[in-house]
Symmetry: C2
């Protein structure tokens, strides 16, 4: 009942990911995305309300793809400490498998124009954040750790630390070294060990 689209949504978002990985969020302009896929700017504005909407979609699609595997890893074992290790390893392994998407994650929602997002997009983002917070809190509880300080330590161990490892290499323009997963797992374990 309608004309078929030459430029579908995933294709446009893929182009945006590539641009973001290469030149950062500021490189993701409507013109640049259009030029990458060979579409006129009108087609882009037909699909996205504006640049903010495009940025939000790229960011959310990437984060949600990442988080899917992350949660699975975190809950992959009955031993909470093993779950923490698996989660840490997943951060590195996923980044190795998706270097462009990982480069994107190292920025933040803020740099993807979060302040200009629609209510809908903000809701989607919040939902993911809440899930992460809940999962980490559950992990801390299972480890017998309580209090704000302990919670923060667990967050560092299973989120920020492995992300730091990825950042260190990607920001330097290198690929992740072969031992990165091992290192992340060991460091996470060291942080989860001491109370």
């Amino acid at each position: 009942m309608a004309r078929p689209s030459r430029f579908d949504l995933p294709q446009l978002l893929d182009a945006a990911v590539r641009l973001a990985a290469e030149s950062g969020p500021s490189g993701v302009t409507m013109s640049a995305v259009a030029a990458t896929v060979g579409a006129p700017s009108g087609s882009l504005y037909h699909r996205f309300a504006g640049r903010s909407a495009l940025l939000a979609e790229v960011w959310l699609r990437t984060v949600e793809d990442f988080q899917e595997g992350y949660f699975a890893a975190l809950e992959s074992s009955d031993d909470p400490r093993a779950g923490g290790r698996a989660a840490s390893r997943h951060v590195v392994a996923w980044s190795r498998g998706h270097p462009q998407e990982a480069a994107l994650l190292l920025y933040g929602a803020h740099e993807f124009g979060r302040d200009d997002w629609s209510e809908e997009h903000l809701l989607r983002a919040d939902e993911g954040n809440m899930q992460v917070r809940a999962a980490v809190a559950a992990l801390a509880g299972a480890l017998g750790l309580h209090g704000r300080l302990a919670l923060e330590r667990v967050s560092l161990a299973v989120i920020d630390l492995p992300l730091s490892l990825v950042r260190r290499h990607l920001r330097a323009g290198e690929a992740l070294p072969p031992h990165a997963e091992e290192l992340a797992e060991q460091c996470t374990d060291a942080l989860l060990a001491g109370g």
Copy 2:
């Protein structure tokens, strides 16, 4: 022998820092800096070769100010592990004392237009990086740790981990909690402990 300047360099860089902390590096436009201090754009271009030069100066001044105290902390004790703890604590304490500059550090040289910097600015940046690398390598040696993996673990412990802690809070728009220094020190120590 010359007309006195109404707008001196530190004043302009301070304005740039404020803008970067508020809206990121992309918010540091020549017009914005000029408007902040009330200067016409001509005065800015008299002092800086262009926007890249301004960005480089802000970034380098901030990094160098940070590193000064960082090195002092790292070498503050004969016990290398105590030095590592002090360095970690310094990252957090300095960030608490200089929240705007810290927000700036959480971006990276790349986002401050490093690709467009002059040879001079690149040299200044490299010098700082080499010093850090050397200091961390010395710390690893003093701890009896050798090899790439160990070196990377030490880097994570004394650089990336405390920076992650700062990032976690500043990105969320919060101030650093009172216990942040303690937490950073403990986590760094935990990572330096296991071989």
